[in-house]
C-alpha cells in the first residue's frame, strides 16, 4: 500500500518536473481536471495588463497553495494577481478598509467580521446572478447563500461573500493500529463513543487529547466541541436561534451542550494530563499524544486541517485516520456536520475583480487546490476524483452527505462573543467554573443592538 502510494506521489512529482514553464503545478490537459472550464474561461476574459490585489488569511504552505491556483487564473486571463497576507489579517483588513486603501479582493474566515464590514459599506454586493448560481451549484446551496448574505450600509440584505475552501470540523482523529492493539471499535453513535471513552479509562488508559491553547485565541477548540454537541442535542433551528441570540447564551439548551463537552474534558481520567491541562495545552501539540509511545491518548476531536500538526511522515489512512463525530442514536437529529471556511468578497469596483469572482465559480478553481491538500468544496460540478487522497475525499463526502450543515457558530457570532467571551468562557469552564455561570457571563457580553 505504502509502496503504491509512494509510486503515485513520485509520478505526480515527475509530472511536476516534466512541465515546460515550471510555474504551473499540474500540466494543463492532463489528469481528471475540468480543463475545459479553464480554457473557456480564458477565452471569454482578457485582462492583459490589469492587476488585481488580493488579501487573504493564507500564509506559509497555504500561501504557496493559493498562489499555485492563482497562477492558472493569471495564465488564462493575462491578469496579474498580487496576493498578500499578514499575521493579524483581521486587523490589517479593518485598518485598510477604514483608511480607504482596501484590496480589490479580500478573503476572510469570519462571516461575522465580513458582515461588520458590509454594514459599514466597505464591500460590493455580488448580485443576484451569483446568488442563483450558489443555490444551483453548491450542495445545500441555500445555507451557503445565507452564510454570505449580510445587511449593507442601508440595512438591506444582499449576498456579499462567496464561500471558497471549506473545512469540516466534526471529525475525531485516531490511530487505527492503536485501536486494533487494544481491541477498540470505531463508534457509530454518540452512546458508543461515550461507552468507548469509559472503557478506555477503565482499561487504565487515557481516551482523549484535548488542548485549547492557541496564544491569543486560546479557547477556540472548545467552541467547536460545544457547537458539535449543540448540533447533536438540539435541532438545527435551536442552533440558529443560539447563533443569532434569539435564545440567550444561558438557555438550558446551550448549557446542556457545554456540559456535554464537560463530560469529556472535565474528567481527569478522560483527558491526557488531567482536566487541569486542557486549557493550557497548545492545540497544535495536543494531537501528538496520539502518536506517542506508549500512546498518551486514543482520540482527538479536531477539524480537517489538523494533520498539518501530526508528526512528520505520518501517512493519513495508514498511520492516522478519522471518523465522523457520531450523533446520538436516540435523538434522531440525522447526521449533522459542523464546518468552517473562507469567504471571498470584493472591496473595490474593479471590473477585473468581477472576473476573478467568476473564476471562483469554475470547477477548475476548486479542483486545482483539491488535488494538492487541505481543500474541501461543496461545489457539485467538480470531479471528486481530483481529491489528492482518500482522506480528503472521505471528508468531501461527509460534506456532500450532510443532512444538516452548520457553520462554526463562533465565527458567526459578533466578534466580542465569538472571538472573545466565548473563548475565554470556555477556558474558565475547563478550569472548573460552572456552565451556568460561564454562559451567563457570555450572554452579558453580547453587544446590545
Amino acid at each position: 500500500m505504502k509502496n503504491l502510494l509512494t509510486g503515485t506521489a513520485l509520478a505526480v512529482l515527475g509530472a511536476g518536473i516534466a512541465q515546460a514553464d515550471g510555474h504551473l503545478t499540474f500540466t494543463p490537459g492532463e489528469g481528471d481536471f475540468n480543463w475545459d472550464s479553464l480554457t473557456a474561461f480564458g477565452e471569454a476574459h482578457d485582462l492583459s495588463g490589469q492587476t488585481i490585489t488580493m488579501f487573504g488569511p493564507w500564509r506559509g504552505d497555504d500561501q504557496a497553495l493559493v498562489e499555485s491556483v492563482l497562477a492558472y487564473f493569471e495564465d488564462a486571463t493575462g491578469a496579474n494577481v498580487e496576493y498578500s497576507s499578514s499575521e493579524n489579517y483581521e486587523q490589517q483588513i479593518v485598518i485598510d478598509a477604514e483608511a480607504g486603501s482596501p484590496p480589490d479582493i479580500a478573503v476572510l474566515p469570519q462571516p461575522g467580521l465580513i458582515g461588520n464590514l458590509a454594514s459599514r459599506g466597505f464591500i460590493q454586493p455580488l448580485g443576484e446572478e451569483t446568488q442563483a448560481w450558489l443555490q444551483e451549484n453548491y450542495a445545500a446551496g441555500d445555507s451557503w447563500v445565507s452564510l454570505g448574505t449580510y445587511a449593507g450600509e442601508d440595512g438591506e440584505e444582499r449576498l456579499y461573500a462567496f464561500p471558497y475552501k471549506i473545512d469540516v470540523k466534526s471529525l475525531v482523529w485516531y490511530v487505527p493500529e492503536n485501536f486494533e492493539d487494544a481491541g477498540y471499535e470505531v463508534p457509530e453513535t454518540m452512546e458508543d463513543l461515550k461507552a468507548l471513552t469509559e472503557q478506555i479509562a477503565a482499561d487504565g488508559e487515557t481516551p482523549w487529547c484535548i488542548g485549547l491553547g492557541s496564544g491569543g485565541a486560546t479557547g477556540w477548540p472548545a467552541t467547536d466541541w460545544v457547537e458539535d454537541m449543540m448540533l447533536r442535542t438540539q435541532p438545527p433551528e435551536t442552533y440558529d436561534a443560539w447563533v443569532s441570540n434569539e435564545i440567550p447564551f444561558d438557555d438550558p439548551a446551550v448549557i446542556g451542550a457545554i456540559e456535554e463537552f464537560g463530560y469529556f474534558a472535565r474528567n481527569d481520567d478522560f483527558v491526557a494530563g488531567g482536566a487541569g491541562a486542557v486549557a493550557s495545552t497548545d492545540f497544535r501539540d495536543s494531537p501528538k499524544g496520539l502518536f506517542a509511545s506508549p500512546p498518551q491518548c486514543y482520540m482527538h476531536h479536531q477539524a480537517s486541517f489538523i494533520p498539518t500538526f501530526f508528526p512528520e511522515g505520518t501517512e493519513l489512512g495508514l498511520d492516522a485516520d478519522f471518523f465522523y463525530m457520531p450523533a446520538y442514536a436516540e435523538k434522531d437529529l440525522g447526521s449533522p456536520v459542523l464546518g468552517a471556511g473562507t469567504l471571498a468578497f470584493k472591496m473595490t469596483e474593479n471590473a477585473a475583480a468581477d472576473v476573478f469572482m467568476e473564476f471562483l465559480k469554475t470547477p477548475i478553481a476548486h479542483e486545482l487546490w483539491m488535488a494538492q491538500s487541505g481543500f474541501l468544496t461543496p461545489h457539485t460540478g467538480v470531479n471528486t476524483e481530483t481529491y489528492a487522497n482518500n482522506t480528503l475525499k472521505k471528508q468531501g463526502e461527509i460534506l456532500l452527505d450532510a443532512t444538516t450543515f452548520r457553520f462554526d457558530a463562533s465565527d458567526l457570532m459578533p466578534g466580542a462573543v465569538g472571538a472573545g467571551s466565548f473563548w475565554t468562557g470556555m477556558v474558565d469552564y475547563a478550569g472548573g467554573k460552572s456552565a451556568e455561570e460561564v454562559a451567563a457571563e457570555i450572554q452579558q457580553s453580547w453587544p446590545a443592538e
Binding site: E153, G273, A277, A279, G415, T424, V427
Partner: protein, 333 residues
C-alpha cells in the same frame, strides 16, 4: 527606481533638508529679520532669542502634532461616540461606564498596577547593576552585548522562548519546559505555570524585565560613564568604600537618567500587549489594559470602548508626567 537608491536619496535629502532648514532659518532670523547690529541691536537680539527656540522645535512639533497629538484627539472623540448604523452617535460617557462595569477591565487595572510597580523597578535595578558591574571588567562589553541581546529579539520570538520555559506536559512524560523539568527532577509534580494565579502575572512580567534590562543597562551605562573621573577619584582618596561610592556618589549623579529610564519603561509597560496576547491573551486573570484595548479594537470592533480604554491608559501616565515636570523644573534652576 530601486527603493534602496530611493532610500539613499531620501537620507541625503532628509538630512540635508533638516540641516539646511535649521541653518537657513537661523541665518534669515539673524541677518534679515532681527540683525544684531544697527540702532535696534539690543531689542533685535531679544526678539530673535524669543523666536529661535521655536525654529529649533518646529519640525519636531509638526511631526509630533500630526502623528501623535492628532490621534489622541481623534481617540478622545471616538471614546464619546458609538458606532451605529449610518454613522457615529454621541453617547457621552456611556463607553466609560460600560467599561467600568466590566470585570475584565477592573482586573486589567489591578494587574496593570502590579506591572507598573514591578517591571520598571526590577528592570532599572538589574540594568543599573549590570551597567555598574560590567563597567570596569575586561570582558564587560561582551557581557553587555549578551545581556542586551533580548532587546534585539522581537516580542514574538521572546514569547516563544518563554513558552519553552513555562511549558508543561502531563505527568510521567518528558517535560520540554525547563521549569517543569527542574521541578520533576526534584520529584515534584509538573505545574501549569501560566494558569497559577496570581503568580502567572509575575511569569509574564519576567519576560518584559528580561527584555527591558538591556535598555536600562545601555542608557544608565552611558550616564555612569558621563560621571567625571575626578569626582570618583576624589571619593576614593577620601577613603570611601565601593558601596559608598556607588550609592552616595554615582547614583545621585545619574538620578535624572534613572528617572528617564524608569519613565520610559513605565510607558513601555503601559503599552505592551504582545507578550500577554501571545502567552495567555489575558486569561487566568492576567489581563492588562493594552491587551484589553486591543481586544476591543480588533476583536470586538468596539471602537468606542477601545478608545475609552486608551484614554485610561493615557490618564495613568499623569503621575509620571507630574514627576517629570517637577524634575525638569528642578534641573533648570
Amino acid at each position: 527606481m530601486n527603493p534602496a537608491v530611493l532610500g539613499l536619496i531620501t537620507i541625503i535629502l532628509g538630512v540635508g533638508g533638516c540641516v539646511g532648514y535649521f541653518w537657513a532659518s537661523n541665518f534669515v532670523l539673524d541677518r534679515f529679520l532681527f540683525p544684531a547690529s544697527g540702532p535696534n541691536a539690543g531689542r533685535n537680539i531679544n526678539r530673535a532669542n524669543a523666536i529661535r527656540p521655536w525654529l529649533f522645535l518646529a519640525p519636531a512639533l509638526l511631526a509630533l502634532g500630526l502623528y501623535l497629538a492628532y490621534p489622541v484627539v481623534a481617540t478622545f472623540w471616538l471614546s464619546l461616540h458609538d458606532r451605529a448604523a449610518g454613522g457615529n452617535v454621541f453617547v457621552g460617557l456611556d463607553n466609560y461606564s460600560q467599561m467600568l462595569g466590566e470585570a475584565k477591565f477592573r482586573e486589567a487595572i489591578f494587574n496593570n498596577m502590579m506591572w507598573l510597580i514591578v517591571v520598571p523597578a526590577a528592570s532599572t535595578a538589574f540594568g543599573l547593576l549590570a551597567a555598574q558591574l560590567t563597567d570596569r571588567i575586561g570582558w564587560g562589553s561582551l557581557a553587555k552585548s549578551l545581556i542586551f541581546m533580548p532587546m534585539a529579539i522581537s516580542f514574538v520570538g521572546a514569547s516563544v522562548i518563554w513558552k519553552l520555559i513555562y511549558d508543561a506536559r502531563p505527568e510521567g512524560t518528558d517535560q520540554i519546559g525547563v521549569l517543569n523539568a527542574v521541578v520533576t527532577f526534584f520529584g515534584g509534580e509538573p505545574q501549569q505555570w501560566l494558569t497559577i494565579q496570581p503568580w502567572n502575572n509575575l511569569m509574564l512580567m519576567i519576560v518584559l524585565i528580561w527584555i527591558q534590562t538591556g535598555f536600562a543597562m545601555v542608557i544608565l551605562g552611558a550616564a555612569l560613564r558621563g560621571i567625571p573621573e575626578e569626582t570618583v577619584e576624589a571619593a576614593i582618596l577620601d577613603g570611601a568604600s565601593p558601596w559608598q561610592i556607588f550609592f552616595k556618589i554615582k547614583v545621585p549623579q545619574i538620578m535624572p537618567t534613572i528617572v528617564v529610564v524608569w519613565t520610559t519603561i513605565t510607558l513601555v509597560v503601559l503599552k505592551v500587549f504582545d507578550i500577554v496576547l501571545a502567552m495567555t491573551n489575558g486569561q487566568w486573570e492576567t489581563q492588562v489594559l493594552a491587551n484589553y484595548m486591543y481586544d476591543k479594537l480588533f476583536r470586538s470592533f468596539d471602537w468606542g470602548v477601545g478608545s475609552a480604554a486608551a484614554m485610561i491608559i493615557m490618564l495613568l501616565v499623569s503621575p509620571i508626567l507630574v514627576w517629570n515636570v517637577y524634575n525638569a523644573r528642578k534641573e533648570m534652576r
